[in-house]
């Protein structure tokens, strides 16, 4: 009961405080001389928002960049240095993590969009009932959290020595067929393929999302243009590539960039499935290890800086596309 009252008061104070703040600023603006009022008013309204963004986004970013140039932060040995950057560019483990991130970027959006597109196109040719059923099946994983999905796939990949009872789906299939797997699937040495086994989880999660948007886009392609192409002498494959795909191109770009941004932040799946071992590490996980396990704030910061720099081109493209879209309206 006491907590509820406290919560209620907090909500009232929060909302009321915001209202009061704007009322006071507006009141102050209106008391000013005319030419001052016009200049001050915009700042009175965007000022508080800018302040909040500054405190919670801008300030931490700056601190992170600053920290990336320091070692032994918070101790007597604290010093300015480029050692973190030296580590960033020379550490073999980190380089592998960067390569893995790059592989994620390269294959996951493309994989999810291709599968989503394939399902969308094929489902479009089914009867309405079967279309609904097949789409639901593909879409269902969307509702599962990354951690949950990782756990599910750990079971699918689970491995026990040949001859013992297998609980993993894939191992069981191989054993059932008489050729049991000699080595574990994901937790196996430093195979580069391990990363791909993790990527499958993300593709499984995101293909449904891609399918829903692409399916809607495909249904929006006018049937007339397809028929016109048929009369113009196009084969079904030519129709798909030359008439359908160009008309849904903008949706493909949107879906790809959305998944891309998600993949740039990839952390949960490697963390849960391998903790970054077996050559599946990604930079977000390196950051986590550096900050909370190694307690090296400088190295953690330099990893974040690297991640920001990697993200910038994609953000730039996205913003440019968004502006072009707004301008086209």
């Amino acid at each position: 009961m006491g907590n509820a009252v406290t919560g209620l008061v907090a909500v009232l104070l929060g909302v009321g405080g915001a209202v009061a703040l704007f009322w006071i600023l507006n009141f102050a603006a209106e008391r000013m001389p005319k030419q001052w009022e016009e200049r001050f008013k915009p700042y009175a309204f965007i000022g508080p928002a800018l302040f909040v963004v500054g405190i919670f986004l801008l300030y931490p970013s700056i601190i992170t960049v600053v920290d990336s140039f320091r070692t032994s932060i918070g101790t007597a040995d604290e010093a300015w240095t480029l050692a973190n950057y030296n580590w960033l560019f020379t550490d073999p483990a980190l380089r592998d993590a960067l390569i893995n991130n790059f592989l994620w970027i390269l294959f996951v959006p493309a994989g999810a969009v291709s599968i989503g597109l394939l399902v969308a196109v094929l489902a479009d040719r089914l009867s309405p009932t079967w279309e609904k059923v097949s789409k639901s099946l593909i879409f269902m994983p969307m509702a599962i959290s990354f951690v949950g999905a990782s756990t599910i796939w750990l079971f699918i990949y689970a491995w026990r020595p040949p001859g013992t009872d297998q609980i993993g789906l894939i191992s069981a299939i191989f054993q059932g067929l008489g050729s049991p797997l000699a080595t574990p699937i994901v937790q196996n040495g430093t195979l580069r393929l391990n990363t791909f086994a993790l990527m499958i989880v993300m593709v499984w999660l995101q293909a449904g999302f891609a399918m829903v948007l692409l399916s809607a886009a495909i249904k929006n392609v006018p049937e007339d243009t397809i028929e016109a192409a048929r009369i113009d002498g196009a084969t079904e494959i030519q129709i798909f590539w030359k008439v359908t795909i160009p008309q849904i191109a903008s949706t493909i770009v949107v879906v790809t960039t959305t998944i891309l941004i998600l993949v740039l932040k990839i952390f949960d799946i490697p963390r849960v499935m391998t903790s970054g071992n077996f050559n599946t590490d990604v930079i977000a996980n390196v950051y986590f290890d550096q900050l909370f396990t190694a307690r090296n704030q400088g190295r953690a910061s330099v990893v974040v800086v690297a991640l920001i720099v990697l993200t910038l081109p994609f953000m730039y493209i996205n913003i440019k596309r968004f502006r072009a879209q707004e301008a086209a309206r």
């Binding site: 006018p222 007339d224 243009t225 028929e227 016109a228 192409a229 048929r230 009369i231 113009d232 002498g233 196009a234 084969t235 030519q238 030359k242 008439v243 160009p246 008309q247 191109a249």
Partner: protein
């Protein structure tokens, strides 16, 4: 270029709708045939079967001498203009027009040349690099036409290509398409629900009613000698006045009784020559049709062809003519034929109401002049030579 022949064509949709019933239609090489009918009569379905976009349930379809039932649209070598134009939004005008040629692996120079030529013919030269989005409705329509003509196909198929244009542009494009077809000499099948387009554009007009071919003939023949009540009612604007009437013989003359026997007009031999079936009747019910332009001032006809004392209901002054709507006591014919010909639920309900009341409104087309007062009585001259007679039940012309 080739002739297109439909032989006992039938179309049954999966839901059981029998959309086209035993359609027989020959389109000669270079001929411009219009397929017209009220909404839902199956005209677009028929066109799509020629195109190969719709399967043929039964019957044979020929393009040239080849049976094309099982051929894909690609193999049929036809071009189609869609109601929505169906332009590819991501391609420039030139690419839209050249797409079929590109797929057919025609050389790039040849494509450029043909697209340029078509662009000149259609006045699109300065728009060739533009996307369809940046064009007006009329220009898009031209691009759709261009896409058809660059291919020099066996036949043009056009599915209501002008229905998305405003009225003024439609009149202009109507003439342009007819002239273009005439110049290119490509066999053309043109679907429309607009009977003005049907009358003005084609060499021949095929009128379709609920999947059945009602009549196919030159536009003037359809207008002058309709085979049935449906064609009579559908072709012509304002449409033909049709009334429940009785034929009587007296002193060697044939009379038609209107207003439930209160008015009797002599049917001259010219009309009987056209509808010899009338001469065989005496005292039987018929459907009498008369076009608005054959109802005029009483002075212009013989005294026994004057319809006396009609109450004026409404006068429409159209500048070049004057439409006088007047009351009659002759019930309308409310058969299926009339319902399809009117092609308007509300208008048909109104006609039914009038039928119950035992009268209906007729329209006469007069020379413009001093309009008669609404509510006044007017003597109408009936040019009885131009009367049409149909069986009241079956709607078949009494020939």
């Amino acid at each position: 270029m080739a002739k297109v022949v439909m032989e006992d064509i039938n179309k049954v949709f999966p839901d059981g709708t029998h959309a086209i019933i035993d359609l027989n239609l020959d389109i000669e090489d270079s001929e411009f045939v219009i397929l017209v009918g009220p909404s839902g009569c199956g005209k677009s379905t028929a066109l799509r079967m020629v195109a190969g976009l719709e399967e043929i349930t039964a019957g044979k379809m020929y393009i040239g001498d080849q049976v094309v039932n099982e051929l894909s649209p690609k193999e049929r070598d036809i071009a189609m203009v869609f109601q929505s134009y169906a332009l590819y939004p991501h391609m420039s005008v030139a690419d839209n027009m050249g797409f079929a040629l590109k797929l057919a692996k025609v050389s790039k120079d040849e494509i450029d040349k043909r697209v340029k030529e078509a662009g000149e013919v259609l006045g699109l030269t300065e728009y060739l690099h533009r996307k369809p989005k940046a064009l007006s409705g009329g220009q898009r329509q031209r691009v759709a036409m261009g896409r058809a003509i660059v291919r020099s196909p066996q036949a043009f198929l056009m599915d209501e290509p002008l229905s998305n244009l405003d009225a003024k542009l439609r009149v202009q494009m109507r003439a342009e398409i007819a002239a273009l077809q005439n110049r290119l000499g490509v066999t053309t099948l043109y679907v429309t629900h607009d009977q003005v387009e049907a009358m003005t554009m084609g060499d021949r007009v095929a009128v379709l009613k609920r999947g059945v071919l009602a009549q196919v003939d030159s536009p003037q023949t359809l207008y002058d000698r309709p085979d049935n009540l449906f064609v009579a009612g559908f072709i012509g604007s304002p449409s033909m006045n049709v009334a429940d009437a009785t034929v009587r013989k007296q002193d060697g003359n044939v009379y038609v009784e209107l207003d439930r026997g209160k008015t009797s007009l002599r049917v001259p031999t010219e009309a009987i020559d056209k509808y010899p079936g009338v001469a065989k009747l005496d005292g039987s019910k018929v459907a009498m049709g008369i076009r608005p332009e054959n109802l005029g001032p009483a002075e212009e006809v013989a005294p026994d062809q004057v319809w006396k004392g009609r109450e004026v209901e409404l006068v429409e002054m159209l500048g070049s003519e004057m439409l006088v709507h007047f009351k009659t006591d002759s019930p309308p014919i409310v058969t299926d034929d009339m319902k399809e010909a009117i092609d308007d639920e509300e208008a048909f309900e109104e006609l039914k109401k009038q039928a119950k009341a035992g009268g209906q409104t007729f329209t006469g087309r007069f020379e413009p002049g001093v309009p008669p007062k609404v509510g006044s009585a007017l003597d109408i001259g009936v040019v009885a030579e131009a009367m049409h007679f149909f069986d009241a039940d079956t709607g078949v012309a009494l020939r």
